[in-house]
Amino acid sequence: MKPFPRDTSYAHIPLAIQQVINASAKRLFQAPVTEPALTVLVTLSHTPKGLLDVLCDGIAYQVKEGNIYIWFQESDRIDTAGYYRLVRFEYVGIPASRKNLKKVVKFTLSAHQKL
């Protein structure tokens, strides 16, 4: 079995959706959080170039009415699972391994805004 090719184009995403994501990226990067929040940490398979690149690395998300919603589920239950509104994202990593700094992304989601 050949290695799976990584997405290098975003052709599968409608252009209007790409525009919303790119427009939101600067606003959401390390944005202050002022409401009850949920956190999702994901280890990426490559160093991303930006939010659109992050989302293309296997993140379950939806874009609706200009907002981005990320899939959240507690580890052993499904009753609270759903798409929650993204309010902040940042790159986190182990300080001893700075080259991996951008390979772990932390999404902060609004606990009250669920699709």
């Binding site: 079995m1 050949k2 290695p3 799976f4 090719p5 990584r6 599968h12 995403i13 409608p14 959706i17 999702v40 994901v42 280890t43 990426l44 398979s45 989302l55 690395d57 296997g58 993140i59 379950a60 998300y61 939806q62 899939w71 589920q73 580890s75 052993d76 239950r77 499904i78 699972a81």
Partner: protein
């Protein structure tokens, strides 16, 4: 053509459900769930006859890479096949994910309700070969599923993603469909079943 295949698939599953219902006694706890599934499949069959080929979760697709017949799949998957059919397909993050169910493992992991081995495709490209999909119980006697997980043991190249975040949505859908037909099984109060008042009070 697609409509004919869908109808054949529905006919097979309806027939097996009816057979299964005819073998069970009137007070069997699984009957309400099977009746609910039968109603959904029969309703879809009615819509097909009217020309509506839009998918439903219980019949999301029939596309498979292999050529296994419904009889072969049913013999390998059992009642699981009657609920999910041969394939589960869903669009997540603008990718089309397709889970082709292969067989049910006879010895699932401890505390797993059951385990199904499946090939998972992303946009028609094989993403995970022979992934094990485990359905975990809510508690040890529950008919409902609390969550669904996947394990990937196939040796070979590194998978495309280093995580299964994308699988979370698919897992949720699978668990929701399963629970739809197992939510209505009456729960026995097993802690007191078969005991006399004396043994309970002591």
């Amino acid at each position: 053509m697609q409509s004919d295949l869908m109808q054949q698939n529905l006919d097979f599953r309806i027939q097996k459900l009816l057979q299964s219902l005819s073998w069970q006694g009137p007070n069997t706890p699984q009957i309400p769930g099977k009746m609910a599934l039968l109603n959904v499949l029969q309703e879809k069959r009615g819509h097909l006859l009217e020309g509506d080929v839009s998918p439903i979760p219980e019949l999301s697709s029939l596309t498979r890479k292999d050529t296994l017949t419904p009889e072969e799949l049913y013999s390998m998957l059992g009642p699981f096949y009657l609920i999910f059919g041969p394939v589960y397909e869903e669009i997540v993050s603008y990718h089309t994910y397709r889970i082709e169910f292969l067989f049910q493992k006879t010895q699932p992991a401890p505390h797993s309700m059951f385990c199904v081995v499946a090939d998972i495709f992303e946009d028609d490209v094989l993403l995970l070969h022979r992934a094990e999909i485990n359905f975990w119980k809510e508690h040890y006697q529950a008919p409902k599923v609390a969550f669904v997980s996947t394990d990937y043991w196939e040796p070979g190249p590194i998978p495309k993603y280093q995580h299964i975040h994308w699988f979370g949505k698919l897992a949720y859908s699978l668990a929701t469909i399963w629970n739809r037909y197992h939510d209505i099984i009456p729960q026995l109060e097993e802690s007191q079943g078969g005991k006399t008042d004396e043994t309970i009070s002591s």
